[in-house]
């Protein structure tokens, strides 16, 4: 499993690969569930707009934008276009309705994917349950280093984080970034230390507090990447007590 790896690219820009993103279907399902929309009757215009808004945020973060997401964006726009076009008159009134809906295939895929997610959750429950029973070991066992990809995120999805981050960026827009000011230097490592120090004093830190007082986009982005990195390293967990609630960062109390 790949890990989230901030690497220094050209022009000292950070590039982050996030394979923990579970893909465009995951995002779409998240948008639909969050808005409590009937999956059979997706308001395609709204959903497409929201989907594109997420992509923009991801792009801004310079996340490795998988072609999968772009393909889904194109598919959504195609469906949108087809829904706006006048439909050919159906000669026979036989069913046709369902098959003619340009959303049909997408809905089928979403339903199928939703079930995959449910099954995966059930497997995860079993995994958790059975990992409590230790077999005797003799001989070789699989490389233990391999599978360090568990996300220490309690009920907070990456989408929640990106959304919170996106809101944060928007709130920054009115602030003017002056040219000619001495540029502050931010490194992800500094920010990570700062977060950890903060957590040594208080057990929990609010997501908004973490970013309070940062005035430039660069600082905000660096802080966000530092947070993602800490999550990956199992140094912190993020929690949210209810949907749309404040995201809270806490020390990772699990085993290391």
């Amino acid at each position: 499993m790949q890990k989230v790896e901030p690497t220094m690219g050209e022009h000292d820009q950070y590039q982050v690969n996030l394979p923990v993103f579970n893909g465009p279907l995951d995002l779409l399902l998240h948008l639909i569930e969050r808005a409590e929309i009937d999956i059979y009757n997706i308001p395609i215009v709204e959903v497409t707009d929201q989907f594109l808004a997420y992509l923009q945020t991801m792009e801004f973060l310079d996340l490795h934008m998988a072609a999968d997401f772009l393909l889904m964006a194109a598919t959504l726009m195609q469906i949108k276009a087809r829904m706006l076009l006048p439909r050919p008159v159906v000669e026979t009134e036989v069913e046709a309705d369902e098959e003619d809906d340009p959303r049909f295939e997408l809905v089928e895929r979403l339903l199928e994917y939703k079930k995959v997610k449910e099954v995966a959750n059930k497997l995860q429950d079993r995994e958790q349950e059975f990992s409590k029973s230790f077999p005797r070991v003799g001989g070789a066992f699989p490389d233990l280093e391999v599978a360090a990809a568990a996300e220490p995120v309690n009920r907070v999805t990456l989408w929640d984080l990106v959304q919170a981050f996106s809101a944060l960026l928007e709130s920054l827009i009115p602030r003017v970034e002056l040219d000619g000011m001495p540029e502050e230097q931010y490194s992800i490592q500094d920010k990570m230390d700062e977060i950890i120090d903060g957590l040594a004093q208080a057990p929990k830190v609010k997501f908004s507090t973490l970013f309070a007082g940062l005035s430039s986009r660069k600082a905000v982005v660096t802080s966000f990447l530092a947070l993602l990195e800490l999550i990956r390293m199992h140094k912190v967990v993020v929690e949210q007590d209810r949907t749309f609630g404040e995201i809270v960062i806490a020390r990772w109390e699990g085993k290391t």
């Binding site: 099954v119 995966a120 497997l123 995860q124 029973s133 230790f134 003799g138 599978a147």
Partner: protein, 183 residues
């Protein structure tokens, strides 16, 4: 060999094996029929369950093996010599779910269902011995077909694939509602 001797031998055999041992194999060793072995094992299972012991015998991946009781997990985790595997990521679990329920299946088919590339989860699952290549699909490029392994059953504590959890109508080897060859 009387009843209690046979039971003691079976206990020893299951203990000595680090892999689950099948009733068939045990029966051949102790020269008893499978039904008798099954009854002896049942008794053993109950004895361990009832007597406040730290270990129990479970039926997993088509055989029997000793495992520690789940209620003592927090102590075992402190024992450094016990190998601990990180839990699977959500992405890997989704890929694994698709493979387990839809095997044999090609990577492209998995990608159609998940809507993302699955190279990295497939290599994780291969390395952890939860899936394996089980053949090639006839057709252009003869793509590799993947299936779940015995290690998969062991990892999730399943007796066999029929014991996989069922969600709605998502059952084993069901036909896909969409045409995967369309793309």
């Amino acid at each position: 060999m009387n009843w209690s001797q046979a039971k003691a031998v079976l206990e020893a055999l299951v203990f000595a094996s680090s892999e689950p041992v099948s009733v068939k194999e045990l029966g051949m060793i102790v020269e008893l029929n499978e039904e008798t072995v099954g009854r002896l094992l049942d008794e053993l299972v109950h004895e361990y369950n009832d007597r406040g012991r730290g270990i129990q015998i479970t039926e997993v991946a088509g055989g029997y093996q000793f495992v520690t009781k789940p209620e003592h997990a927090e102590y075992l985790e402190k024992l450094k010599k016990v190998p601990r595997q990180a839990p699977l990521s959500q992405a890997a679990l989704e890929t694994l779910a698709i493979i387990a329920y839809r095997q044999p299946i090609t990577r492209a088919e998995i990608e159609t269902i998940r809507g993302v590339r699955v190279d990295s989860s497939i290599s994780t699952l291969l390395e952890r011995g939860l899936i394996e290549e089980i053949g090639r699909k006839e057709g252009p490029g003869r793509p590799i077909l993947y299936g779940s392994t015995k290690g998969f059953l062991k990892y999730f504590g399943l007796k066999d694939l029929d014991e996989l959890p069922i969600v709605d109508d998502w059952i084993l080897n069901q036909q896909l509602p969409i045409d995967l060859t369309a793309d």
